[in-house]
Amino acid sequence: MERREVLKLLAGAASLPFLSPEAFSLFQAMHAQPGKNPALQALNPHQNATVIALSDRIIPSTKTPGAKAAKVNQFIDVIVADWYDEEEKESFLAGLAEVDARSQKLFGKDFVQLAPAQQDKLLTVMDGELADLYHPPAGYRKDRVNLLENNFFFRMKALTLTGYYTSQVGFEQELHESIIPPRHAGCAPVGEGAPGE
């Protein structure tokens, strides 16, 4: 929703006997202080905790901060709430629940309660299920893209990478990118600047 539309909604609400909860939460979101965590829109607290745990095993903290510190979960919440269509949203949330189901089956606990090594075991299984799709064999399946995009772990991994490397932490600390580069060169030593184009 555009700022202008929110203001219009609020202006309308002022003449009502009370401010609707929707308008109020929008108002709060609009005036959220930078650094303050915005309210989650799509994920419930458990789903959010699962997303944080998954993302932080995909991109853990090393010498540089990981996905949790980069607040990748907040980005994923925005995507699930305002970018995915209903079908994608349901499928993503069902995928999260499925992670717990598999975790329960393997270890008798929800994913967030597992030790990191146990979490990694489950991630290895989920990532391994994509092996054929990552490395399409000769005459690869035409439905590859479709299968990949409908796979929960593929989505989760792709969103984690986007959320992380487009965060200020990922961009500056991990990739050493700068918006205005120090100079231009066609072939500079790796490490002098950012990777890729």
Partner: protein, 560 residues
């Protein structure tokens, strides 16, 4: 209402409108520029340095809003989460196409027009292009040749600033170049392999682009931040907003009026001249008329033709200045979608630094020396790069090692993407859809266009020759492709009011002046009698400056 009479009115403020305003006002004419869209203030509206983490969808676009408001515009690869505001709202600007024949009409309505978001590639035509229609008996002969336009190419290049490398090729004349940008490692390998394997036939050069590589006429050199199509605070790339409009305003003789949606032109049957422009105010939606002595249509190929078609009157029942019946016909666009990509091994310790907003260019080599089974040809654009973190989504793994690997650049790859010439065809045309109006009540267009046999043959050939060049360079995992893009997507639409020698078969004469209406000039892409395969904007600019010079000379002689 007695209203002021301007010396000149320019309709449109983009690539050609900016040039018309500059030239006419510098030659002393009091000039009114009518722009359909809103004003743009670089300080507020340019967003090239806004970090990706400040965008809600981190560069993935507000897809729901785009589906609602810009379903056509979003098909353009140049639209992103930062600059979608520089593209029109499709709901306000509807048009129709026949079932099964899509045409993608990508538009920008604001002061500066599409010059804010254009691709900045800048190439001269040659006589191979200007003589092609005559030689092959296709459409009509161009009324001009390279010698007529060459001094105007010089003139325009000198003002806008074009970086590039002189190559001495007859089919792609050299210009007045600022130093070229740098090749990267993959490009050097492919360039050298092409030179070795295809001597005298094919060659790779640095893209010639309207981006400054050194200080030029008060504008700063490029600082390689990358996303030009979001604006440029340092005015390092050419746009009317960055270059020609400030020059026009500096004369004190130019007025730019935004929110001026042109409805039609007013023709006086007694003098057989235009007297005024009917405008719908973009905000109040009130009708207003502006009067002038000479009129320059620079609204883009389709909009300019639409205005003329909407200006039908008893003298010209099929559209103003349309005694030939060619107005709206011969719509062309360049074809895109054929080419190849491959991996280039080695140079793992090197990577590009900064974001060069330009690629390589392989000038046309088909039907230059040897005849092919198809007509005309194509050039390749593209470039080399190292894969970034995005490769991670398609790579096995997760965790600390995975993160460390993605923090380093991936393999080098090289892509070659063809841009091919489209033949003029009377059957590709626009007509007014009287039953459907836009948000300002102006009748809209029905666009009928399709690729034909020659275009399809070019597209296939692009994939073949691109693969040959990558193979010659030792590229691995070569992926050649032929994509079926709808016409319009290259955003080089042209030809709807073509120039020609004969008033019976063309709309404009050799000076972009309407054969039928003396004080009407059309200098945008509408004027093109064929399409060449090179990016067209430089030619539009040169033709505009040339037409302005002619118009002012005629006015001084009292002949206009």
């Amino acid at each position: 209402m007695a209203s002021k009479v301007y010396d000149a009115i320019v309709i449109g403020s983009g690539i050609t409108g900016g040039w018309a305003a500059k030239e006419l006002s510098e030659k002393g004419l009091e000039t009114l520029v009518l722009e359909a869209g809103r004003p743009i203030t670089p300080e507020n509206d340019y967003v090239e340095h806004v970090p990706v983490w400040e965008k809600k969808f981190r560069g993935m676009n507000d897809t729901r809003k785009l589906d609602q408001e810009q379903p056509v515009q979003r098909t353009c690869g140049g639209l992103d989460e930062w600059n979608s505001k520089f593209f029109v709202n499709d709901r306000e600007n509807p048009y129709t196409t026949p079932d099964g024949k899509p045409f993608l009409w990508i538009r920008g309505r604001q002061v500066g027009g599409r010059s804010i978001t254009w691709g900045r590639q800048t190439y001269r035509w040659s006589d191979l292009d200007f003589e092609a229609n005559l030689r092959e008996g296709i459409a009509v002969d161009w009324p001009i040749r390279y010698a007529d336009i060459a001094p105007w190419y010089d003139y325009v290049e000198d003002f806008i600033g074009v970086s590039g490398q002189a190559e001495g090729l007859p089919q792609l004349p050299d210009g007045k170049f600022l130093p070229p940008m740098e090749f990267n490692c993959a490009e050097v390998i492919v360039r050298d392999a092409i030179a070795r394997h295809f001597p005298g036939e094919r060659r790779m050069t640095m893209g010639r682009c309207a981006i400054l590589t050194q200080l030029h006429r008060g504008r700063m050199p490029c600082h390689y931040c990358g996303p030009c199509a979001r604006g440029c605070m340092t005015r390092s790339y050419f746009s009317s907003l960055n270059s020609t409009l400030p020059a026009a305003l500096a004369t004190g003789k130019t007025t730019v009026r935004p929110f001026s949606v042109v409805h039609s032109l007013v023709f006086d049957a007694n003098t057989r001249k235009l007297t005024a422009v009917r405008v719908i105010d973009g905000q109040s939606k009130q009708a207003i008329e502006f009067r002038a002595n000479v009129f320059f249509l620079c609204a883009s190929a389709l909009e300019s033709a639409r205005i003329l078609l909407n200006s039908a009157n008893p003298e010209f029942p099929d559209g103003l200045a349309n005694s030939s019946g060619e107005l709206g016909h011969n719509l062309m666009d360049h074809l895109m979608g054929g080419g190849a990509r491959g991996r280039i091994e080695g140079n793992e310790d090197k990577a590009p630094l900064g974001h060069r907003p330009n690629g390589i260019y392989v000038p046309r080599f088909r039907n230059v020396k040897q005849k092919q089974s198809f007509l005309r040809g194509y050039g390749f654009q593209g470039g080399g790069s190292r894969e970034g973190w995005q490769r991670g989504a398609n790579t096995p793994g997760f965790g600390a090692d995975f993160k460390q690997a993605l923090g380093r650049p991936g393999p080098w790859s090289m892509g070659l993407y063809g841009f091919g010439e489209c033949l003029p065809n009377h059957g590709n045309f626009i007509a007014i859809d009287k039953g459907k109006v836009d948000a300002w009540g102006i009748p809209t267009l029905h666009i009928t266009a399709q690729w034909r046999e020659n275009e399809r043959a070019l597209l296939q050939d692009m994939a073949v020759t691109a693969s040959e060049m990558l193979e010659a360079a030792g590229a691995k995992d070569i992926d050649s492709f032929v994509e079926d893009n709808a016409p319009g997507l290259t955003i080089h639409e042209m030809g709807t009011a073509r120039m020609g020698r004969d008033p019976k078969t063309s709309v404009l004469n050799a000076h972009n002046q309407a054969h039928d209406v003396q004080n009407l000039f059309v200098t945008d892409g509408a004027c093109m009698a064929s399409s060449s395969c090179v990016n067209p904007s430089l030619t539009y600019m040169a033709l505009t400056a040339r037409a302005c010079d002619y118009a002012v000379q005629q006015m001084k002689r009292g002949e206009l």
